[in-house]
């Protein structure tokens, strides 16, 4: 297997109602990533694009539509798709392009333009449910999350105030992110989070990530190609993904076993025995406040039910000395959530943390290895990538 290196990354400003088309957003991100890597588009052998439902942009065959914005004209182009987990899956897709020995370089672009769905993307989320059994109920994503959140809270007896702490932490971290969406990060108190409008009890407005447009891109290269860039290259050490059954009603929602399976696959590939000691910084997917804790447990970085307790102790804070900083970027709650682009944003944050380029967001403890994770479909898929120096 070829070793795969990350050479550069690009990220657009996250915003709602971006004036740019999806193609333009993809172009900006791709251009930035190529500039950081010091490459031209002609140096790229293959292009991978990820984006969540076509219905957001209102474009059928969205991959085809975005391809020229991603720089894929007259190149092998592939769009992979695992719903909300697509962002992190993009780098996995790019990884196997290179690890297989087929290509030397690969550009991975993630784009999402959610605001074009009117009046609100939650309407589109109705179309992800089963046509016969669930869709007629008029359900959306908030509804399913409130079920999962209640189950998680009742099994481990977690108070709502503890879950709100995730939003407090991430929205504060997001203040230092130059790409953060206007009005999303901020200094909030637990009371403000808990007392914001109830969307679907117990989910409140400030525990939900916003509707965002944005794009992210990353340049991958083979060992031979990356050697030219010297010692300071960041490598992909492990990848993992896993899809659970579509019948979500038949599962116990308190624990994301699909995330655990995906994490175990990635740990095995990276040769990690004890993730709690060997992972130094983590970006778990946090579209909803409780999700970050849920995923930290799935990633085996905390025992079942232990993540909220560690949160209260500041174990996941950015300036922790002996904990594991979690979502130092601000995550989806603090930066914004253009679904696929948000997943790749998390990978890029790990890359910048390892490079020491995260600026004000740089974590205090020394980092040699970091993990990014995304999640999607009907609370069903886990995608995990481990980067290391």
């Amino acid at each position: 297997m070829q070793k795969v290196a990350v050479l550069g990354a690009g990220l657009t400003k996250f915003s709602r109602r971006a004036k740019e088309t999806g193609k333009e957003l993809a172009f900006y991100a791709a251009k930035m990533a190529l500039e950081e890597a010091g490459l031209e588009i002609d140096d790229i052998d293959a292009v991978v694009c990820v984006s969540a439902p076509d219905a957001f942009d209102g474009v059928h065959m969205k991959g085809e539509y975005l391809s020229d914005g991603c720089g894929a004209s007259k190149k092998p182009f592939m769009r992979s798709y695992v719903g909300g987990g697509s962002g992190v899956f993009g780098i996995i897709n790019g990884w196997y392009h290179i690890a297989s020995g087929h290509f030397n370089t690969c550009l991975v672009v993630a784009e999402e333009k959610m605001s074009s769905s009117m009046p609100h993307p939650q309407g589109i989320f109705n179309a992800i449910y089963d046509q016969f059994l669930e869709r007629p109920l008029g359900v959306n994503l908030l509804w399913i999350f409130s079920l999962e959140m209640q189950r998680y809270m009742s099994v481990h007896k977690i108070p709502l105030e503890t879950i709100a702490l995730v939003a407090v932490k991430n929205k504060k971290n997001g203040l230092d992110h130059p790409c953060a969406q206007e009005g999303i990060p901020g200094n909030y108190t637990v009371e403000e989070i808990v007392n914001s409008e109830i969307m679907c009890w117990p989910v409140t407005r400030l525990m939900v990530s916003p509707v965002t447009d944005g794009a992210a891109a990353i340049v991958l290269a083979s060992y031979d190609f990356a050697k030219k860039f010297g010692k300071d290259v960041i490598w992909i050490e492990g990848v993992g993904w896993c899809l659970d059954t579509s019948y979500w009603t038949n599962r116990d929602l308190y624990y994301p076993r699909y995330v655990e399976y995906a994490a175990r696959m990635a740990y095995e590939m990276a040769g990690i025995k004890d993730p709690k000691k060997e992972i130094h910084v983590v970006e778990p997917y946090d579209p909803f406040a409780y999700k970050e804790l849920h995923h930290l447990e799935g990633l085996l970085l905390a025992e079942k039910g232990e993540a909220p307790k560690l949160l209260e102790k500041g174990f996941w804070d950015r300036d922790t000395e002996n904990g594991i900083p979690s979502s130092p970027s601000g995550g989806l709650l603090g930066v914004g959530n253009p679904i696929a682009a948000a997943g790749l944003m998390k990978v890029i944050e790990i890359y910048w943390q390892l490079k020491g380029k995260a600026g004000k967001r740089q974590v205090k403890r020394e980092v040699k290895r970091g993990l990014a994770q995304a999640w999607g479909d009907l609370m069903q898929v886990g995608t995990v990538v481990i980067l290391g120096k």
Binding site: A55, R79, S80, D130
Partner: protein, 383 residues
């Protein structure tokens, strides 16, 4: 030499114009069970799964959700490729070549009969700002391209009609085909105009069906089955999504994809292949693709077709399965049907339509209007 990847199992359903008696899940389940039996494995032996789907065709946002159960992939690495089967096959091949995965499964299906207004769906694939507001039916693009192709290459409507005749006749020998038939040139030429010179019978009709194939690396394939079919070369390419900037004469996407596949397979002259399954969503597309693949020189595909080169008993039989014109248009699963046909031919299991001594087969795909992307895969049974 690097270890090759082999196809060790295939499963497929009957193709039908409509299929109200089964859901997409039941269709896929039938194909999956057949494929696993064919390969002599259980789903638990599979390391990674890839599925093909497009949300708008399925009528579901994030169709990836509904993939795992019916193929036995629950709690396994599964992902969707929203492209044609050859690109998705490349995803399987690359995963196996990383060395992490030993056995991979590829699933593709069509439930086109559920789509009430297919042209409305296709219109959503047009650029939403510059092109879609013009409000035309996307099939118009095929008529436009056909016109340009015929004028530039000197091929005629007689030749495109011959493609329809040949493929529908070939389909008579294919038990799974949905639209076989014996028709005349006049039938095609006098069929209803759609977007002239494109006529009703030049267009492949939609069909329902499901396909599943099992892949493994060479060393494992040899242990599991007697007749593995090897993937010698694979290529895929995007030309441009902008219809304004596209080459309406040559299939640039297929030229590029073919070059990539020929290089990997070590094929110097395209005439080394024994047969081909080539996209024929529209009759003229088969001729355009034959020229793009280098099987015929520019402008000569029509004459060669007329002389019988591409017939069942010709030098390079093309679409002996009946192609999309004879079997039905399955959207992105079209090329998976082609791959299954190639596997049957290379295993010497194609029954009445068996090509003698077939050793190398080629499958070429196009994603349909309004795209300009496609793929090529070269398969062989050579040890």
């Amino acid at each position: 030499m690097k270890e090759r990847v082999a196809i060790i199992g295939i499963g497929y359903t009957q193709l039908k114009p409509i299929s109200p008696e089964v859901s997409f899940r039941e269709m896929i389940y039938e194909a999956a069970v057949k494929a696993y039996n064919d390969a002599g494995i259980e789903p638990k032996d599979v390391d990674t799964f890839v599925a093909i789907s497009e949300d708008y065709y399925e009528g579901t946002a994030i169709f990836d959700e509904y993939v795992p159960d019916q193929i036995g992939a629950v709690l396994k690495p599964v992902h969707t490729i929203t492209q044609d089967a050859i690109t998705a096959l490349a995803a399987c091949v690359m995963q196996i070549k990383t060395g992490i995965f030993k056995i991979a499964v590829l699933e593709g299906h069509s439930k086109a009969s559920n789509i009430v207004y297919p042209s409305h769906i296709d219109a959503f694939a047009l650029d939403p700002i510059l092109v879609r507001p013009l409000g035309f039916n996307p099939i118009f693009l095929a008529g436009l391209e056909m016109q340009r192709f015929l004028i530039e290459t000197g091929n005629t409507e007689y030749h495109t009609s011959l493609v329809v005749l040949k493929n529908k006749r070939n389909a008579l020998k294919n038990p799974i085909a949905a639209y076989p038939g014996e028709i005349s040139i006049d039938d095609v030429l006098s069929s209803n105009p759609v977007s002239l010179p494109l006529k009703e019978l030049d267009i492949s009709k939609k069909a329902d069906g499901a396909f599943v194939i099992v892949l493994a690396k060479e060393s494992i394939a040899k242990k599991l089955v007697d007749k593995p079919v090897y993937i010698e070369g694979i290529g895929w390419l995007q030309e441009t999504p902008n219809i304004e900037r596209r080459d309406f004469v040559n299939a640039i996407y297929l030229q590029g994809a073919a070059n990539m596949a020929y290089r990997e397979a070590g094929i110097k002259n395209p005439l080394e292949i024994d047969f081909a399954e080539i996209d024929d969503t529209f009759s003229y597309k088969e001729l355009q693709h034959i020229e793009a693949l280098g099987i015929a020189r520019f402008g000569e595909s029509g004459i060669m077709l007329e002389e019988g080169y591409f017939d069942f008993d010709g030098a390079i039989p093309i679409n002996v399965s009946g192609g999309s014109l004879g079997c039905g248009n399955l959207h992105d699963a079209n090329s998976l049907r082609g791959i299954v046909e190639a596997v049957l031919q290379l295993r010497n299991e194609a029954g009445e339509r068996q090509i003698e001594n077939a050793e190398i087969g080629l499958v070429a795909s196009w994603r349909g209007i309004p795209t300009a992307s496609g793929g090529v895969v070269i398969l062989s049974n050579r040890e």
